[in-house]
């Protein structure tokens, strides 16, 4: 019993991180129909920015954890958002009216550029940051116990807060309305006076900011990263986006949580050797019965 509960906690924290990154994939796909393969590497950049921010803060003698983490979040989200904006500007906007394949190749190129740029500028070695927040809550259940570190609680809190804020922006604000209009019909939205280029830019910034939030949380929790860390987590988040229905915002979050839970439960109860096999089999099965994902809308051919 305690073991299953602990695995649920493990899966939920991992899944909420997948969900945050999946948002970047799903929003970009929803609005311009491309898969941004550089997104995992944007996440990777944010890990380095986290370490840089923490080093800066401790250099200026700031010790208190809330100030450091708050400052790190703001710094990392702003700078990573700027990365998202620049990437769209440099690699995708010039190809806006080309075939999908060209944009895809441009995205793969961007991914390689980011990896190599970080490798050259920051070194190829594995990096680590010291533990910032220690301690845990322990619940005794029967003979066993469930232990949740404060860091894990913070991840859950911050991830769901981030998703809530984003949902609010998309549903209630003017920017959100413009995003939804552009997603439904880009040409029509632009005829009605929406600056769609700016909307697309802001979608990239939002996606990068969510990846940055995930990057800060994961880096603080696991403490270890290198220039290649975006690859595996990017693939997982992309899977989560497809699972939930690519293009759908709640779908990305749901997909992330389902993927995280299925990995943790399968690894914990059956075998960790085959957990990825299980996750991807789950994806295949869901796509057989719901080709556009759990919450995705079927694509309608416009005539």
């Amino acid at each position: 019993m305690d073991i299953v509960l602990q695995q649920l906690v493990n899966g939920l924290t991992l899944g909420s991180v997948y969900g945050l990154i999946a948002i970047g994939y799903t929003m970009v796909y929803g609005i311009i129909g491309m898969i941004n393969f550089a997104h995992g590497d944007v996440y990777m950049v944010s890990s380095y920015l986290t370490a840089i921010a923490i080093a800066l803060f401790s250099f200026f003698g700031l010790e208190s954890f809330p100030i450091i983490i708050f400052g790190t979040l703001i710094f990392t989200i702003i700078v990573t958002g700027a990365y998202g904006w620049v990437i769209e500007r440099v690699a995708y906007r010039p190809l806006r009216n080309s075939s999908r394949l060209s944009v895809l190749i441009s995205a793969i190129g961007m991914s390689l550029i980011l990896q190599n740029y970080v490798q050259i500028s920051q070194g190829a070695r594995q990096q680590g940051i010291p533990t910032m927040l220690t301690g845990a809550i322990r619940f005794d259940i029967g003979d066993g116990f469930v232990q949740i570190t404060y860091m894990k609680l913070f991840i859950l809190f911050a991830a769901f807060l981030g998703m809530g804020v984003l949902t609010y922006i998309i549903q209630k604000t003017k920017l959100g309305r413009m995003c939804r209009a552009t997603q439904q019909d880009r040409k029509m939205a632009s005829i009605l006076g929406i600056n769609t280029d700016r909307v697309i830019s802001s979608v990239f910034v939002i996606g990068a900011a969510m990846a940055a939030l995930a990057g800060v949380l994961v880096t603080l929790d696991y403490g270890a990263f290198d220039f290649y860390v975006g690859f595996i987590i990017g693939i997982k988040a992309f899977t989560a986006a497809v699972l939930g229905g690519i293009g759908s915002l709640p779908g990305a979050m749901l997909g992330g949580v389902i993927l995280g839970l299925s990995e943790a439960l399968f690894a914990g109860l059956i075998s960790s050797d085959y957990k990825d096999v299980f996750s991807f089999s789950l994806l295949v099965i869901i796509l057989i019965f719901r080709p556009s994902g759990l919450l995705g809308k079927p694509e309608v051919e416009k005539v």
Binding site: I3, Q6, Q7, N10, G11, T13, L14, Q119, G123, A124, R125, Q126, Q127, G128, I129, P130, T131, A136, R138, F145, Q147, T149, M151, V218, Y222, G223, A224, F225, D226, Y228, V229, F231, I232, E263, A264, L265, A267, G268, L269, S271, S272, D273, K275, D276
Partner: protein, 371 residues
């Protein structure tokens, strides 16, 4: 002019050409993960090999020719190891290679060196398969995982008296090989593992498998793999309140193990098997001191790499730079190195293995345990 004359001229030209190219430097490759998550080990190999080459050159080189090192980066990827091995053989025209690091890179690369008649001495690849395939050109100056597994297993069973042992590995040639070797010996002592699982290299979240270790109530966790996974793994074990002893092999011998684990407190009490302190040999004292004077701590595989270079140089020197003859020579003769006298058996393994148990402390350093 008859045909024979033409042929003779051509042959003499060819010989002259060979003699001419022999006037150039002796090219030796240093192959390992110079980039990527395991770059710390590539750096260790390079430091050792570089210093050895400088010292040998200062004493007049091999057969009067200077050693020229070529850095070959395999990033610990089998595919890249093969292409880098081809590059060393074809375009760099290396006569010998010090490397690779990861067994999963060394094994495919060794086949290419064998076909090209290039001598290969690895300072670090411990998987038994490497020397079990009868390749005459392959040597290692480190031990084998079956020997390492024996030491770990007898320590777990005899010294720790553990009854509930969980075994994890990273599904790679080295990691799984080491875990399996330890498992085999431990089972032969009558102790069965309570858990045997693989985890994925490159991931950082092992919470699910840690919870599983907790559910089987293990008192020892043995991990076959490298520090990039061992660090987060041991950290997540401690964070989940798991106090089981963590034991691993020579894949975590790097300061990075501590930084990746997040803090020295997490590595406190971690045990590992590694060759007897490579800096403790009387023959290597001068070199160790010189390393320390230049601000480089000869940790991990630095001295092994130095030794590998000495072995290569001694063999090539004795056989006038013929790598094939050098391989035969190494099977017959023993070599004086900074890590004592090394002698190889017919497979290319060392005749004496010297694995011992080390313990990490709360300052992030490791010391040999006195058994």
């Amino acid at each position: 002019m008859s045909n024979t004359v033409v042929r003779k001229t051509l042959i003499s030209l060819a010989i002259a050409g060979a003699a001419f190219s022999a006037q150039a430097d002796v090219v030796i490759g240093v192959a390992g993960p110079h980039t990527g998550a395991y770059a710390a080990f590539g750096e260790q190999l390079w430091r050792g090999a570089e210093k050895a080459a400088m010292d040998i050159n200062a004493k007049g080189g091999i057969n009067g020719e200077m050693i020229k090192l070529v850095k070959a980066d395999d990033a610990c990827e089998p595919k890249q190891a093969v292409s880098i091995a081809n590059r060393l053989v074809d375009s760099d025209e290396a006569v010998a290679v010090v490397g690779h690091f990861c067994s999963s890179s060394s094994i495919p690369a060794s086949t290419i060196y064998e076909e090209a008649g290039v001598l290969m001495v690895t300072p670090a690849s411990t998987n038994p398969t490497l020397t079990e395939r009868g390749l005459p050109n392959v040597f290692r100056v480190c031990g084998r995982d079956d020997q390492q597994g024996d030491v770990a297993a007898s320590y777990i069973v005899d010294d720790l008296g553990a009854k509930r042992v969980a075994i994890l590995h990273d599904k790679d040639t080295y990691g799984k090989g080491l875990a399996d070797a330890m498992k085999a010996t431990m089972n032969s002592y009558g102790v069965d593992e309570v858990l045997y699982e693989g985890l994925t290299r490159g991931e950082k979240d092992f919470n699910a498998v840690v919870t599983k270790i907790r559910s089987v109530d293990a008192d020892v966790v043995y991990f076959g793999g490298l520090h990039s996974e061992a660090g987060p793994l041991v950290r997540q074990m401690r964070e989940q309140g798991l106090t089981a002893t963590f034991i691993s092999g020579d894949g975590i011998v790097s300061d990075e193990f501590v930084s990746v684990a997040g803090s020295p407190e997490y590595v406190d009490g971690v045990l590992m098997t590694f060759g007897a302190d490579p800096t403790s040999y009387a023959a290597g004292k001068v070199v160790v001191d010189e390393f320390r004077e230049s601000g480089v701590e000869p940790e991990g595989y630095v001295m092994y790499s130095y030794t590998a270079m000495q072995v290569v140089a001694a063999a090539l020197d004795a056989t006038e730079l013929d790598p094939i003859a050098a391989s035969d020579w190494l099977h017959e003769n023993s070599i004086e190195t900074v890590m004592g006298t090394k002698k190889f058996d017919e497979k290319g393994d060392l005749t004496i293995s010297d694995y011992v148990m080390y313990e990490w402390d709360d300052k992030g350093k490791y010391t040999m345990l006195n058994n």
